[in-house]
């Protein structure tokens, strides 16, 4: 039995060219959603088919790939996508943020600051930030074209009216380069500031919705807010139970059925490095 022979990184070269053209256009128009001919991938929608296609299109044999899911390298989604590229592209993989050249992510940006030689690829379920209030795609495209974004603040207004503060905690809308309003994928708003003036290229792929968008390096990304209710990052007011970090984004882990819980870093690599460094010291 021999394994089926795939082209490098699964997709055929013509498809990769098509995706690369979409990526180039996305980079040229920061925050704009570029339609592309999304392919069927050997995994279900919602598992990152958009991100996988973008990664497949940019991956080279020398790249080192890191895949995270909610910050973790060891959850199902991350493990299976990593395996997928090991099998179809034979690239080296890593869990170390610093060593990776391509990072595919679901819903987090690593705590370790990204560098200029890196590309981060986001898996996006719903690329359209305006859909909450305007379900018609024909209309939202017009609104983007005309920079007609008042409706975004209606959403934030509703948050404050209901909760007393802007309660949107993930997929928090941003304005890219002073022009397009963009959904940063369901990353926690804690990560929004990391997107601004980031030295790494940030690519976003939505497979089911067939859209690619991008934030080029060193691009200003501003989280929308009100003058009297400015954007605020949010993290649990706790320290990581494993590494003691006070500055990282935390996951709440329920440990029993009597209200027991602990907070740990959502970025497993960051947490492990800190513990390793702590023990060495």
């Amino acid at each position: 039995m021999s394994a089926p022979i795939y082209n490098f990184a699964y997709l055929d070269e013509q498809t990769k060219r098509m995706i690369r053209r979409a990526i180039l256009k996305a980079v040229a128009i920061p925050g704009y959603q570029v339609p592309f001919a999304s392919r069927e991938m050997p995994m279900p929608y919602g598992w990152g088919t958009g991100g996988v296609q973008v990664t497949a299109a940019i991956l080279g044999p020398d790249d080192v790939l890191k895949v995270i899911d909610q910050g973790a390298d060891d959850t199902t989604n991350a493990v299976s996508i990593r395996k997928f590229f090991v099998k179809t592209a034979g690239v080296r993989t890593t869990t170390r943020t610093r060593d990776a050249t391509v990072i595919q992510t679901r819903h987090r940006i690593p705590e370790t600051a990204l560098a200029a030689h890196q590309i981060i690829v986001f898996q996006v379920p719903i690329p359209e930030p305006l859909r909450f209030l305007e379900p018609r795609d024909t209309e939202t495209r017009r609104m983007h074209a005309l920079a007609d974004y008042g409706i975004m603040h209606v959403k934030l207004y509703e948050d404050i009216a209901r909760h007393g503060h802007i309660a949107t905690s993930y997929a928090y809308p941003v304005k890219v380069d002073g022009r397009y309003v963009m959904d940063p994928s369901p990353t926690p708003k804690f990560d929004n500031p990391k997107m601004s003036d980031c030295p790494a290229l940030q690519l976003f792929g939505a497979g089911r919705e067939k859209r690619i968008y991008a934030i080029p390096p060193w691009t200003r990304v501003v989280s929308l807010d009100f003058e009297d209710h400015p954007f605020e990052r949010y993290r649990f007011d706790a320290t990581c139970a494993l590494c003691g970090a006070t500055d990282s984004f935390l996951d709440e882990v329920v440990t029993d059925d009597r209200g027991g819980r602990m907070f740990v870093c959502s970025d497993t690599d960051y947490c492990e490095r800190r513990r390793a460094d702590g023990e060495a010291a």
Partner: protein, 262 residues
């Protein structure tokens, strides 16, 4: 209220014609509307009133004819030549559009306050406290209890929805409001209160308005001038009292005669 004829008209319709394929929407409608003037368009169903209103508000494209509008900077411009961004800006700052069915003019799932505040946010207001204060003020003016401003219009009564729609339109201090059967579908006592409210607002704010209605009582209460349409064409125009008290056309006479005596 008298119109000031030394001024330029606010809105000029010139030979407006709309064909839906082989069916006529309306034909060769021309008029001028001055600032502070309210014009009623009356006629039976299918007479072309709503088509005319949509043509004026640039919601549909005319087969022939033009609409000119005097912008806030004083320049009178052909609306068909405006860019879409300009047209949208005009439509939500200088204009209002009150639909017969408030669900068309409101965002039913967001709160009343946000409905009123939307226009302000669209033109760049970014201070929550001030947006909320403006919304509260307008809800109060249309007699909606501000304690209900955080509820969605889904839980409002029909009359409240219609008043909310009016507040949502007037918050940007428009100069011209289009109303399509503003009291349709409301019961008589609610209609009466709404008309009272509208009449007060129109007079206080010196609004110009084009009101489409099949209800001659609405026309009499709100409008200065009246335009009677039938089969897509204007058959009679004049001052409201004059047309209603002394109708010239047989059809208008029929319309007036068909009002039940109180």
């Amino acid at each position: 209220m008298s119109t000031r004829h030394d001024e330029e008209p606010l809105l000029i319709a010139d030979g407006l014609t709309k064909w839906y394929g082989r069916n006529l929407g309306c034909r060769d409608v021309s008029f001028a509307l001055y600032e502070g003037e309210v014009m009623a368009v009356v006629g039976e169903s299918g007479s072309g009133k709503s088509t005319l209103l949509q043509l004026l508000a640039m919601q549909i494209e005319a087969t022939a004819g033009r609409v000119h509008y005097r912008m806030r900077d004083g320049a009178t411009r052909d609306l068909a030549l405006l860019g879409e961004a300009e047209r949208r800006f005009l439509a939500r700052t200088d204009w209002g559009y009150v639909h017969q069915d408030p669900t068309l003019g409101l965002r039913m799932t967001v709160s009343g306050g946000a409905n009123v505040g939307e226009r302000l946010m669209a033109v760049g207001w970014r201070h929550y406290g001030r947006i909320r204060a403006a919304a509260t003020d307008w809800l109060d003016r249309v007699e909606i209890d501000p304690s209900r401003m955080d509820e969605a219009p889904l839980v409002y009564s029909g009359g409240m929805r219609q008043r909310l729609q009016i507040a949502r339109n007037l918050v940007s201090a428009p100069r011209l409001v289009f109303m399509d059967e503003p009291t349709g579908g409301l019961d008589v006592s609610v209609q009466a209160r709404l008309l009272d409210l509208l009449r007060g607002l129109v007079a206080d704010l010196r609004l110009s308005a084009v009101v489409v209605t099949h209800d001659l009582a609405v026309a009499r209460l709100l409008s200065h001038r009246i335009m009677v349409m039938r089969g897509g064409e204007v058959i009679e125009t004049g001052l409201t009292d004059q047309v209603l008290d002394d109708p010239r056309e047989a059809y208008t006479q029929l319309l007036v005669a068909s009002i039940l005596p109180p």
